[in-house]
């Protein structure tokens, strides 16, 4: 039997950072620049707005005392939504895998923390490669002989990247948002979305391009990552188009939710109409590995039978991957 996604859930914090707030930080940027370069109007953060304004989050360690919610908390909320949508009690989960770039602790794994918070005793461990987590997890699960997978597998990507942002940095301040997505996968039950194809790989020779220090802030070589992201996403889509029957009047594209301007370059290149391009980066910001799956989760009820969903995601590692799903 083919792997299926039975349901998805998402969660975001409530505090909004709009472009005016970023501009008022007086760090050398303004709304015009932000909209033209990254196309983001607002982001959702787990941090109090006054804390960001006063401290600029110069010490990410202090952010932990101020925040509304953490990585684990967002993951639990997303999971609860996914379980409810699937009609599956959380006790039936047989495996939990998690990706995060903002773990609450270095050990135990974030997956174990989530299992503990859910009150679920099942095998739990992290499978990590930052932003392309959606593709990684699906491709990773397709490695298994079907009989080796439990009935229900919970995949999670959760990140509170704003807690690692230096709000004196004009680029990073404008990009990031916080969020979590969860998806329940089964090789034993058919679900709303069947996995038709997947791919994941990396080029670790460029792994220093995007970094989150355990003790400090997020850093990236913005220009190098931007060019790589557009190029690689286009390649991924082209490969799916070559291998499968994709109709952009029917099918949906979801990219890595890093930058709306970059997504526009990609959809223009592949002639994907706006109506068939789902995204959330404009309002929520870059939620790292949660962005793309959260986008799909937020549009769950809009999926139409026979529709194909093309997910192409890129990120730290540098790593990239794709998924083709069919409703």
């Amino acid at each position: 039997m083919t792997l299926s996604i039975l349901s998805m859930g998402y969660a975001h914090p409530s505090t909004v950072i709009d472009n005016q707030f970023i501009e008022d930080l007086d760090i050398g940027t303004n709304e015009e620049w932000i909209l033209s370069k990254i196309g983001i109007r607002s982001r959702l953060t787990s941090l109090p707005i006054d804390y960001i304004k006063e401290s600029r989050n110069e010490s990410p360690e202090h952010a932990r005392k101020q925040r509304e919610i953490d990585t684990t908390g967002l993951a639990v909320k997303a999971t609860e939504m996914a379980c409810e949508r699937a009609g599956i009690p959380k006790e039936k989960l047989g495996l939990i895998i998690c990706n995060t770039c903002t773990p609450e602790e270095l050990s135990p794994s974030e997956a174990q923390r989530i299992a503990d918070a859910l009150g679920v005793e099942c095998l739990a461990y992290d499978v990590c490669s930052a932003c392309p987590a959606f593709a990684l997890h699906i491709d990773y699960l397709r490695n298994f002989r079907e009989e080796e997978l439990p009935e229900y597998v919970l995949c999670i990507s959760s990140a509170v990247v704003t807690q690692s942002v230096n709000y004196n940095d004009r680029s990073d301040s404008a990009i990031w948002g916080d969020g979590a997505a969860a998806w329940i996968v089964s090789a034993k039950h058919e679900g709303k979305l069947k996995v038709r194809d997947s791919f994941f790989t990396a080029d670790p020779t460029r792994c220093d391009a995007v970094v989150v220090d355990s003790f400090g802030h997020f850093h990236q070589d913005g220009r190098a990552v931007r060019d790589f992201s557009v190029r690689q996403t286009v390649r991924l889509i082209k490969q799916i188009e070559k291998d499968h029957d994709i109709d952009w009047n029917r099918d949906i594209f979801i990219g890595h939710q890093a930058n709306r301007t970059m997504l526009a370059q990609i959809t223009n290149n592949r002639k994907i109409p706006d109506s068939n391009h789902w995204h959330n980066v404009e309002e929520i910001g870059n939620q790292a590995g949660a962005g793309a799956p959260a986008t799909l989760a937020m549009n769950w009820d809009k999926i139409e039978p026979g529709q194909q969903i093309v997910v192409a995601v890129v990120g730290a590692g540098l790593s990239w991957g794709s998924i083709l799903l069919e409703a």
Binding site: P108, S109, C128, A130, R142, P204, S214, G317
Partner: protein, 329 residues
């Protein structure tokens, strides 16, 4: 699945328990019974930290340790990987997948596997599968369950931990227990090697996972020494299960323990582990989290005759426990 080669890497620094006992005495403290037990069971271990730094700062702020550490988890893992690749006699470019894990990474992204692969200049698929401490039993149990066509010819698995850089040397039994090191395994599902991976398993206990932690900005904590009793029970259960399913063959088994206190050797021997086939370097390397048993195997494999089966008991923080059996061909 064949283990083509295995190699370990350790930092040069040597941390003696006597040094930590002296620090404790000079602060007017008296070690607890458990601390004394661990100090005598682990008289020395490897560390990335200069002793002067430990003495002067007690590593109160682990962030400072990064600047003066002799090695990083990634550099140790890369060193082990280079040795494993050389021992296997393959071109590193042939490696199709790198998997890794660590409880003490210096960065949360990229993944440890990607950092190590990057250090080796490999343009190949790489990501982490991390229980809580880079437990290789988790990686190997994964690989044994994958479809053959999804496995490349060569797979590099790394486990690396530098817990001494995350210890508070002013208090706690943890400061007597942990040592640093890395291990790399080169595996192939189809190219034969000297050792066959027989079986592997890994399990977690969410309810117990919070009893131990590596704080992202702070230190390693084991909140309850009963944790060691749990690990000991799990280890005995592993031995009981595997030796009972191989009745009559216990004399072919070599056993490498999980390198934690409360080992209860006599219980293991009563379950069928042979006293003279129990290999442990706990007294030399301490607990290197999920990495230790494989460091010990890497250093001991020459003494294990062909036809033997090696049972490695693995435990990390976060109540992750498991095992690997290796058949020496």
């Amino acid at each position: 699945m064949y283990l083509l080669s295995i190699a370990a890497a350790e930092p040069q620094g040597l941390l003696k328990s006597s040094h930590v006992l002296e620090l404790e005495a000079s602060s007017g403290q008296t070690p607890s019974e458990m601390e004394q037990y661990i100090a005598s069971a682990v008289p020395e271990r490897r560390t990335v930290l200069p002793l002067e730094y430990i003495s002067s700062s007690l590593n109160k702020n682990p962030r400072e340790a990064i600047e003066i550490a002799s090695d990083t988890p990634s550099s140790l893992a890369a060193q082990a990987a280079r040795s494993a690749i050389e021992e296997a006699g393959i071109d590193a470019k042939e490696i199709g997948l790198v998997l890794g894990g660590s409880a003490t990474p210096l960065q949360t992204i990229p993944s440890e596997a990607q950092r190590v692969a990057g250090a080796l200049s490999l343009k190949t698929n790489a990501y982490d599968i991390n229980g809580s401490s880079g437990e290789l039993s988790l990686l190997l149990s994964n690989l044994l369950k994958w479809k053959d066509e999804r496995l490349p010819d060569y797979i590099l698995c790394v486990s690396t931990n530098t817990p001494t850089a995350r210890l508070d040397y002013s208090k706690g039994l943890e400061r007597y227990l942990f040592g640093d090191g890395a291990v790399a395994l080169l595996l192939s599902p189809r190219i034969k090697g000297p050792i066959r991976v027989g079986s592997a398993d890994y399990k977690t206990s969410a309810g117990r996972s919070s009893k131990t932690r590596v704080e992202i900005y702070g230190h390693i904590h084991i909140d309850d020494a009963e944790y060691f009793s749990y690990l000991s029970e799990q280890q005995q259960e592993i031995v009981r299960t595997l030796l009972s399913s191989n009745t009559g063959e216990s004399d072919k088994f070599f056993f490498i323990d999980n390198h934690y206190p409360n080992l209860d050797k006599e219980a293991l021997y009563s379950l069928g582990v042979h006293r003279d086939r129990h290999i442990s370097h706990f007294d030399k390397i301490g607990s290197v989290l999920g990495t230790a048993p494989f460091i010990t195997f890497s250093k001991s494999k020459a003494q294990i005759p062909a036809g033997s089966t090696v049972l490695l008991s693995v435990a990390g923080l976060g109540a992750g426990t498991g095992y690997v059996t290796l058949g020496v061909e």
